[in-house]
Symmetry: C2
Subunit: 285 residues, 2 copies
């Protein structure tokens, strides 16, 4: 492993636009953790020529799982005693992971295809996480582009069978989807729930990210064409994932949306907008 990022294997190296390619841990991990739907591709069954691809939920986890400190965390009174759930908006999220390499946890039903395939095997998988920050509009379609961020991770997937790590991974995946949700719902899972939930751990072999920022760039000939520049609007339409007003279920009995949910909605929307607008001012070079 490189000291500050994933190794630069040819499979993870773009053969053009090298300036846009990044290998640092932060960029790769941030993309995996903030992209709601990951696309997981793996070799096809038998003679089928097409790679299999599944949309999945997941997030990064520790490179090496520390069972002892997780057991210590679980034995704190707030986490074990029934009826001792936090009732307000206390911060109960898992400690954040240290810098350095990580694994990826993927979550799914244990009957799904990937979970069957990876039983007892280490399956090579490619995980893609992409998000768009804007439509880049140039004078000519040839120079149109998108501001986007995309991480591609290659690694070996195996089914987690250690119950403590499984519970830990599910906590992390849940709180990655919505911070503090784990402690604000009915936990721990029942035996039956744990049995039918598959958790896959992917050990990362190589990874890279591509990040396109900035405004459009046009050719000199077009830029000198005053009629053209006066007629065609150029710039960026920023975009991000917007979260709306939470809609209660038919059986919800909690009268107001809890603070940890409403602050998530506000913070995600503010951050998404700011990131997409800030990206326009940055330089792609």
């Amino acid at each position: 492993m490189a000291s500050d990022g994933y190794p630069s294997h040819p499979r993870a190296t773009g053969n053009r636009l090298k300036a846009r390619t990044k290998y640092d841990y932060d960029t790769v991990h941030h993309l995996i953790d903030t992209t709601p739907i990951l696309h997981v591709s793996f070799p096809p069954n038998g003679d089928d020529p097409f790679p299999a691809t599944l949309p999945m939920l997941g997030c990064t986890g520790p490179d090496t799982f520390d069972a002892a400190s997780e057991q210590a965390r679980l034995s704190e009174p707030d986490h074990s005693a029934p009826g001792s759930f936090p009732t307000g908006d206390e911060k109960k999220t898992l400690p954040s992971l240290p810098d350095g390499p990580r694994c990826i946890y993927l979550h799914g039903h244990s009957a799904s295809r990937l979970f069957q395939v990876s039983k007892g095997n280490k399956l090579p998988v490619t995980i893609a996480a992409s998000s768009m920050q804007g439509i880049v509009l140039a004078l000519t379609p040839f120079h149109n582009s998108c501001n986007y961020s995309s991480a591609i991770v290659h690694g070996y997937a195996s089914l987690l069978d250690d119950e403590i790590e499984r519970n830990y991974a599910l906590t992390r995946i849940t709180d990655n989807l919505l911070p503090e949700r784990w402690d604000n719902s009915r936990v721990p899972p029942t035996k039956a729930e744990l049995t039918t939930t598959g958790v896959i751990k992917v050990e990362i072999e190589s990874a890279s990210a591509k990040v396109r920022v900035g405004g459009p760039g046009d050719d000199r000939a077009d830029l000198k064409n005053e009629e053209l520049v006066g007629r065609v609007w150029t710039g960026v339409v920023p975009c991000w994932t917007q979260y709306g007003t939470p809609v209660p279920s038919s059986y919800n009995k909690v009268p107001t949306v809890p603070g940890y949910i409403s602050s998530f909605v506000k913070e995600e929307n503010d951050t998404g907008k700011a990131v997409s607008v800030d990206a326009i001012q940055k330089s792609s070079k």
Copy 2:
């Protein structure tokens, strides 16, 4: 081909949640056309075990390209004569495609890896297009979910070399990103632009879509637990892609954002919000 959708090959068949799996043309095509970033996976080079995955722009195209009618369209005065570009908000988009099977056009730089690999070959590719419509929050993490739509398409990719179809595909890809943009920019492309732009055509072999809608579903035991139901907020946080105020480039000279761009922003935001909120009221069964 089935009369109203793609064939149900095992590779495209979920082995659970069959009720969520769809094969109809409309659902598959809509997802490909409305998901900004497609993930294209193909078999690795040589002995590398990991499928290659690239983020790409693309859209659906006709199953069979009709060169004659495209040539007729191009010979209309508005499209050929220099200086005859529409200056206002006239609707100049390509006619919409008929029902039935389609191909997928992918766009990229002709030096990129996929374009090298597919030169002279038909390369098996798997295209994934997913979008999230909401975070589904249940009483227990086990029943948390996402409202999402995901299309997975398998097909054979080849480089387009016919110049008329290439120009047509680029028109469709551009207008799919932002309706009417092709005619509102500097077209046709120069020879050099056409040479360095690769367009890949994917002939679809099989395809399917998964669509999860509705609110959370919890187990009877949890629903009967009044303390739990009174404490844990359940419901859906809807989400969609939000487009912000267009930001002009440093060399933009068009004083106001053209109508075709501002209506796109408004319509996408209204539709995105409505679709994610409507999805909550639907039943997944």
